[in-house]
Each structure stands twice: as structure tokens, then as C-alpha cells.
């Protein structure tokens, strides 16, 4: 045996950690926490993006209206459109009202009919595109009144038919994303708490020996708090890192055309993973403390 001789320089010697380290139990626990944290972070990041997408649809739709102008007597359709645009621009809550010229109108029709298919002389209705102030949009009634006042024969489409659908879809997407994020975060937290408690119970013998040797409750539970906080924080960091790399890859390679329009991920969303290690450590500390104190209170003075 190579035990240090008693007269070895005291300086070089350091006492061992009071809690056993590096057990398989701990590694399994770390791994599972890391996986759950990665899932929670990924869900949080995607939830942010989904939320942004949902509110994006909503504002895009509610912040615009289309007016189809029918030329009155003695007016070309262009003149009628210009008059309508002028009348609408004066309404409070309207940012801009723009009469589309024939080219614009055709461009708008293109996605639906294909390009360059309408005969040049096909009479198309004139459109006025109205942009509304997204914060205080003009009501449909105000727009209709302005058109009637200006004596323009026109049909207003404020997209309200679509708005309901889109809002419902957005609400669902948003709550699904947030719900999934909360669910996974909760599961990760519960797993940290649960596994911390289990990991601690299996070291009951250490607790009892320390206890009977006169260690204070705070000293003992502090050992476990630090151990599991550190374990959870490290696992949480690994998990967050994995989530950030994965989401970053999605953002980088998802491309402008493919994924991004559906799920407008922004680089700043990746920050949602940042609090993960801290949160994991916090959960671990609280549950380690509670579990340690329960073991401490149980056997003695029963």
C-alpha cells in the first residue's frame, strides 16, 4: 500500500469531499436533466417564434383593408379610385390609402391567376389598398362613412372574415407553443426535483454519520444543495447549449424561403435558453434542501 507516511508535508494534502463524487447515479441524473433541459429550451425558443408568427399574421391582416371601386357616372375607374383613396386617407387610424394602378392590380392578381394571362384590355376593377395604424386601426364603419361622404361607389373588404379564422389559428398556435414549453419545463423541473431527492436518499448513511458526529442541519443540507445545484446547473447548461445549437442550425439552414416564413425564428430567441442552468440549479437546491432536511428530521428524536 502506498499510504502517505505520517510525516509527509501537510501542505500537499487535501481532505476528500464529504459527499461521494462521480457515481453512475449522478451521471445518469445529469444526462436525463440535460435532455429534459434541452427539450424545454428548444420548446421555449420555438414557442417564441410561433408566438411571433401568430401575432405577425394578426397584425398583417388587421392592419390592412382593400377597397374595390366601381367607377361612377362620367368617371374612369382610375379617377374613382383616386377619389376613394383621397377620402380614405383623411380618416383617423388610416396610415396610407393608395390607389393601385393597373400594373399593381395585375401584380396582386398574379399569385392567383398566374402571370401575364389577362388580356391587356380586360377591364379589371380598381383597387385601393388601405394601410391602417396597427395600434388604433380605423373601424370599418368609419371607412364606409368616409367613402359614402365622398360619393364613391365602393365595396370595402376589411378582411374581417379572415381575421376571425386567423386569430383563432394564431391563438391555438400560440397556446400550443406556450403550453408545450410550460409542460416540458415543468417536466424538467419535476425530474430535477425528483431525481435529486432519490439521489440524496441513497446517501442516507452519509447524512446519518455526519448528523451523529455533530454536524448542523444547515451544514449537511448545504453539502447536498451545492452538489445538486452544481450538477443541475452543469446539466442545464449542456442542455441549453444543445438546444441553442439545434435552433441555430434550424435558423441558419432553414433558409429564407423554407422554414423562416412559417416560423420566424430570430437569433435573439436563442436567449430564451439562457436562464435554463440557473432555473435547474434553483429547482435542485430547493428540492435537495427539502429532501435533506426531511432525512435529518426523521430518524432522530422520533
Amino acid at each position: 500500500m502506498t499510504g502517505l507516511p505520517a510525516q509527509a508535508p501537510a501542505r500537499r494534502w487535501r481532505p476528500g469531499p464529504l459527499l461521494p463524487v462521480g457515481e453512475g447515479r449522478d451521471r445518469a441524473l445529469s444526462f436525463v436533466i440535460a435532455v429534459l433541459c434541452a427539450l424545454a429550451c428548444l420548446t421555449a425558443i420555438l414557442a417564441l417564434a410561433a408566438d411571433r408568427a401568430a401575432s405577425g399574421w394578426r397584425t398583417q391582416i388587421s392592419a390592412s383593408a382593400t377597397v374595390l371601386v366601381r367607377p361612377g357616372r362620367g368617371q374612369t375607374s382610375s379617377e374613382a379610385a383616386a377619389a376613394a383613396a383621397e377620402a380614405l386617407a383623411g380618416v383617423p387610424g388610416v396610415t396610407e390609402a393608395r390607389a393601385l394602378d393597373r400594373a399593381d392590380a395585375l401584380r396582386l392578381l398574379t399569385p392567383w391567376l398566374g402571370g401575364g394571362v389577362l388580356p391587356d384590355d380586360a377591364p379589371i376593377p380598381m383597387l385601393v389598398a388601405v394601410d391602417l395604424d396597427p395600434r388604433r386601426p380605423a373601424t370599418s364603419a368609419a371607412l364606409r362613412a368616409a367613402l359614402a361622404n365622398a360619393g364613391v361607389q365602393a365595396v370595402l373588404d376589411d378582411h374581417s372574415r379572415w381575421l376571425g379564422d386567423v386569430e383563432r389559428a394564431a391563438l391555438i398556435a400560440r397556446s400550443a407553443a406556450l403550453g408545450a414549453g410550460a409542460l416540458v419545463a415543468l417536466a424538467a423541473g419535476a425530474a430535477v426535483a425528483f431525481a435529486t431527492r432519490a439521489g440524496l436518499t441513497s446517501r442516507r448513511d452519509v447524512i446519518e454519520v455526519l448528523h451523529l458526529s455533530g454536524a448542523r442541519d444547515g451544514f449537511i443540507s448545504g453539502l447536498f444543495e451545492r452538489r445538486f445545484a452544481w450538477l443541475a446547473a452543469r446539466s442545464g447548461a449542456y442542455g441549453a447549449l444543445a438546444a441553442i445549437l439545434l435552433a441555430g442550425a434550424l435558423k441558419a439552414f432553414g433558409g429564407q424561403d423554407g422554414f423562416t416564413p412559417l416560423l420566424p425564428l430570430q437569433w435573439s430567441d436563442l436567449l430564451a435558453a439562457a436562464p435554463c442552468p440557473l432555473a435547474a440549479a434553483g429547482v435542485a437546491v430547493v428540492s435537495a434542501r427539502r429532501a435533506a432536511l426531511r432525512v435529518l428530521r426523521a430518524p432522530s428524536q422520533a
Binding site: M1, T2, G3, L4, A6, Q7, A10, R11, W13, R14, P15, G16, P17, L18, L19, P20, V21, D205, V206, E208, V209, L210, L212, S213, G214, A215, R216, D217, F219, P299, S300, Q301, A302
Partner: protein, 251 residues
């Protein structure tokens, strides 16, 4: 005292250990020797009765003061209770670490103590690589390392040979000479005979008076361990009220 709903293990115990005394505790296997020691080192509360330790009724001691009492008691557990992940040195140093002593201060003392119990070559060994007797000596070294006011040893020589047993006895006697109250539960007749100290015998849950030179009784200041468990069943006579003096326990 009783465990759960089992029959009472200890009854009508009235034991006062004078500070600086040295007693053996004997009795058949399962008589309750370890249970009595548990009461004294506060691992278990009495189901009824009074325990006074160092002049304080332990039921009135605040929870946060219990560790201070425990630090004044050294215990050799029957099943050793070593920490498997710590070296021999760290195991023995445990009470010192808990008391807040610095590693550099105590290391050499601990190494010396280990050499004394014959483990000078195994300072860094883990308990799982020690023989039964080596583990037992390690447990003894841990119990005595911080010069406790009270030393409780439960079968401390069951796994060592006679020479080592006597060496351990000498260690206990030396501590006792320096003022430590010693109580040793043992089956080892030779040890008891060699020591020539009073023997308490536990049988059927009751304690017989000391067989050899009885322990001196009297008011005394300083360290003091007192264990007592009074009857509770209505059929038993009610325990007498303990005298209010600061010294001994009664029942």
C-alpha cells in the same frame, strides 16, 4: 424505550454516569445495550422518561443546540458506520472537520492516532479495502480523535485479536485518565476482567447495579451523561418525580 409498536426494550433504567467514570455495559445479545447507547448519543428519543446530558434535560434542548452536545460525545458504532468513499485519514478526521478545524492543523495528529491503532501504513486506504479488525480500529480512532467528554463504545473489540484489544483498552483508559467519561458495551469477558472497572449488566430490559467498585455518586459539575427511561404502562408504578438538582437523573 421501544421501537415502533414492539414491546419495550428498556424499562426502569436509572443510570447516572459520574463525569470521569469508566463503566462496562454487558448483557445477553439483544438485551438493549446498543439501544441504551443510542439514547445517550441522541440517535433515538425515549418513548417516555427523562434523559439529562451534561446537566440539561435533552427534551428541553433546542434543536440547533443538539449538534454541540453531540460533538462532546464520541461513539464507536457496533457496525462501524465508516464513510466508504473517504480514506481512513478522512474518516478519522470527520469530527474535526465538522467542528470546523482546518485540514493542515489536524492532519499530523490524525496520522499519529492512526499509527497508534496500527493503521499507519493505510492512511489513504478506503474502508472497503480494510480487514474487519482494521475497520473497527478506524471506527475507534474516529470516536476518540476529538477528545470527547463522553466516549461510548459498542462492542469495540469484537473483530480484533487480544493484543490489539488490550491496546485499545489502554487507549480508552488513557482518555479516561484525561477526564473522559467512558461507557463500553461488550461481550468480551477478558477485556472486562483486565480493566477491573465497574460492570453494569442489562437483562430483560432492566439494569443491575454495578458489580465491581460501584460508581461514585454525588453532585458534580462538568461533563455528565445521564440516560433514563421510565415505565409508561398504567400497570407499572408511575415514575417518581426526578429531583430538581442540577446533577443526577432519577426515575
Amino acid at each position: 424505550m421501544r421501537y415502533g409498536r414492539a414491546p419495550e426494550v428498556l424499562r426502569d433504567i436509572d443510570l447516572t454516569l459520574k463525569p470521569g467514570s469508566f463503566h462496562f455495559l454487558t448483557g445477553p445479545s439483544g438485551a438493549g445495550k446498543s439501544s441504551l447507547l443510542k439514547l445517550i448519543y441522541l440517535a433515538h428519543g425515549p418513548s417516555r422518561g427523562l434523559i439529562r446530558l451534561f446537566g440539561q434535560d435533552i427534551s428541553t434542548v433546542a434543536r440547533r443546540d443538539v449538534p454541540d452536545l453531540r460533538r462532546r460525545i464520541g461513539v464507536v458504532f457496533q457496525e462501524f458506520r465508516l464513510l466508504d468513499h473517504l480514506s481512513a485519514l478522512d474518516n478519522v478526521a470527520l469530527p474535526l472537520r465538522i467542528a470546523g478545524r482546518r485540514a493542515q492543523e489536524y492532519r499530523d495528529d490524525v496520522a499519529e492516532l492512526l499509527a497508534w491503532v496500527g493503521l499507519g501504513e493505510r492512511l489513504e486506504a478506503l474502508p472497503s479495502t480494510l480487514s474487519g479488525g482494521e475497520k473497527q480500529r478506524l471506527a475507534i480512532a474516529r470516536a476518540v480523535v476529538n477528545r470527547p467528554d463522553v466516549l461510548l463504545a459498542d462492542e469495540p473489540t469484537g473483530n480484533v485479536d487480544r493484543e490489539m484489544g488490550l491496546r485499545i483498552l489502554r487507549l480508552f483508559q488513557e482518555l479516561n485518565r484525561l477526564g473522559t467519561t467512558v461507557l463500553i458495551a461488550t461481550h468480551d469477558r477478558e477485556l472486562v476482567q483486565r480493566a477491573g472497572q465497574p460492570v453494569l449488566r442489562l437483562d430483560g430490559g432492566r439494569l443491575s447495579p454495578p458489580l465491581r467498585p460501584g460508581p461514585p455518586v454525588g453532585q458534580a459539575s462538568g461533563p455528565r451523561a445521564e440516560a433514563e427511561a421510565a415505565p409508561e404502562l398504567a400497570l407499572d408504578p408511575p415514575p417518581p418525580v426526578p429531583p430538581p438538582g442540577p446533577g443526577e437523573a432519577a426515575a
